[in-house]
């Protein structure tokens, strides 16, 4: 079972069991559902964005594998105070660093669900 502790280390399991930023916002600037097709991972993400284009608050409700939920929990912890452009420039390595582990190709989509949904939410906020 070598390597198992890598992906399912206590930090990830902790974020999975008790995700940070869980819940809903009173008056979100934008709400978006993110899904992994063929997977069943789903999150409902909400952002509060200031007029200056800075994320002031974030919350999500989700269901899915440990990697998707921990990944979302970890990324949402990073969002407050960041500008929309900053968030858009984040990529897969940033999430992998947060997770502290390299995720195999079959699970990359799980790990990135939180970030990608955030970025889609920003895009749809801007196209409003």
């Amino acid at each position: 079972m070598g390597g198992m502790d890598d992906l399912y280390r206590e930090q990830i399991l902790e974020h999975h069991r008790r995700p940070h930023n869980q819940g809903t916002l009173a008056a979100p600037s934008i709400s978006l559902e993110g899904r992994n097709p063929n997977c069943g991972d789903v999150i409902n993400l909400q952002l509060q964005v200031s007029d200056a284009g800075v994320i002031t608050d974030v919350a999500f409700l989700g269901k899915g594998c440990a990697i998707s939920q921990a990944g979302t929990s970890l990324i949402t912890d990073e969002l407050r105070g960041k500008s929309l452009d900053e968030v858009l420039s984040l990529g897969s390595p940033f999430v992998m660093e947060l997770l502290g582990v390299e995720v195999g190709p079959a699970r990359v989509h799980c790990a990135l669900l939180g970030l990608e949904t955030t970025q889609k939410a920003i895009a749809s906020l801007r196209s409003k």
């Binding site: 079972m1 198992m4 399912y8 206590e10 069991r17 997977c39 991972d41 899915g64 594998c65 440990a66």
Partner: protein
């Protein structure tokens, strides 16, 4: 094609008492002796695609290196050998299903077969307000084509429901649903999530009483239990080669000659025509009319060789072996993972080939990943049956499927892996 009916079991694959010996069977599948990622392979995902026997690859190799030419059109010896190879394979596959070769359309997959039924039969026969009846448990391949054609023809798609809790298909609802006078009932022979065997004879009877046709998706049945298509009562029967040990490409559709004769081809091109002029074409008759383009001779030969081997194993024996494996899974799973919600019947005898379950504690993907550390290969997700998962309010499920080559060691590794996972997630 050699045809051997395993009435007296071939001892190569059997125990003295005539039961299948999976350890002997494994010798026929070279991949089972490999160690992907450095771990032994406990392949419990045959419902997705079966492993390929040496025999199948040998048959393909032999054909390609001794008889390969374009079938049907050649006036030379090699082309005749190719034609004999292809049509001989069709005959062998037809015999496997107990149908005439003249009624077996050779296609690229079950998906293609089901699309053909929906689009050709559907387009010609469905009118506004007509009803097509499917179950809530259908594989996408036996659902979306019906969604598409009913929308196009302004017909209605109705559903035989599943029990939200047990996941069993509520066949007794057919009594009232049949009053909708469906024109087509399309169901899986064995559900690829619930594992349950559909009571086809009864469904056929109900269907035919109101003039409906029965289209059966046989993908999950044909490799796991004896299937004599005429005895199912089906009007259309579709299957895929790769679930039986053939190559990926390949599959077929059986329908009675009269039904085929009334159907328009969907795909057009070479090898399916009678005569062609610049502005119109007359199509040929029989199965060939649906087989546009160069026939997949090596695919057909692979499938015929796979049929040979399944018959050597004995399909009754395969079914009995797999039922024993499933019994063990149904018995031990609740002990090892108490929160596992088993989808579908609790009685192994009502199943063929597979068990899917969901756990609140451990998501199916995490489970599959942890099992993989022990070389145990199971499937996680929707298994191309997303609506069923929504009906059951299951985010995704883990599916264990068995085959003639599944051993108790495979299940030992499965349960050991499940214990690992529980340890990890219970913390």
């Amino acid at each position: 094609m050699t045809v051997r009916l395993a009435e007296t079991p071939v001892t190569t694959w059997h125990n003295a008492d005539g039961t299948l010996d999976p350890v002997k069977v494994r010798a026929a599948y070279p991949i089972l002796a490999t160690r992907p990622g450095g771990r032994p392979l406990h392949y419990l995902d045959s419902a997705a695609t079966a492993q390929r026997p040496q025999r199948v690859v040998d048959a393909v190799t032999k054909y390609l290196f001794t008889a390969n030419a374009n079938p049907h059109r050649g006036a030379y010896t090699l082309a005749q050998m190719a034609t004999d190879g292809y049509e001989g394979a069709r005959a062998r596959i037809a015999q496997f299903f107990n149908v005439p070769a003249t009624e077996l359309v050779m296609l690229g997959s079950a998906t293609e077969a089901l699309n053909l039924v929906a689009r050709s039969w559907g387009k010609a026969n469905l009118r506004r307000g007509d009803v097509v009846l499917v179950t809530e448990a259908e594989h996408h391949a036996n659902l979306i084509p019906w969604q598409q054609i009913t929308r196009e023809m302004d017909a209605d798609l109705e559903f035989i429901p599943v029990d939200d809790v047990t996941g069993e298909i509520l066949w007794d609802r057919l009594d009232s649903l049949i009053k909708l006078k469906p024109k087509m009932i399309a169901v899986g022979h064995v559900s690829n999530v619930l594992g349950s065997i559909a009571p086809l004879a009864e469904i056929a009877k109900a269907a035919h009483q109101v003039g409906a046709l029965l289209c059966v998706d046989g993908c999950q049945a044909v490799a796991n239990m004896p299937v004599s298509i005429p005895h199912t009562g089906a009007d259309f029967y579709a299957f895929s080669a790769h679930k039986m040990g053939g190559l990926y490409a390949g599959g077929g559709l059986w329908a009675r000659a009269e039904l085929l004769a009334e159907m328009a081809p969907i795909e057009t091109g070479g090898d399916m025509i009678h005569s062609v002029r610049l502005r119109d074409a007359e199509f040929t008759t029989g199965t060939q009319r649906f087989e546009a383009g160069t026939p997949d001779a090596s695919g057909a030969i692979a499938l015929a060789a796979a049929c040979d081997l399944l018959d050597e194993f004995g399909r009754e024996q395969i079914h009995a072996h797999e039922t024993r494996m499933i019994e063990r899974i149904l018995r031990e799973l609740p002990e090892v993972l108490p929160d596992a919600r088993i989808l579908g019947p609790r009685d192994a005898r009502q199943r063929a080939g597979l068990v899917a379950f969901a756990s609140e504690l451990i998501h199916a993907h995490d489970l599959a990943e942890i099992l993989d550390r022990r070389g145990v290969a199971i499937r996680a997700g929707f298994h191309c049956a997303q609506p069923l998962h929504e009906q059951l309010e299951v985010g995704s499920s883990a599916r264990v499927s068995v085959a003639p080559y599944t051993t108790h060691e495979d299940l030992d590794a499965l349960f050991a892996g499940l214990r690992d996972a529980r340890t990890v997630f219970e913390g």
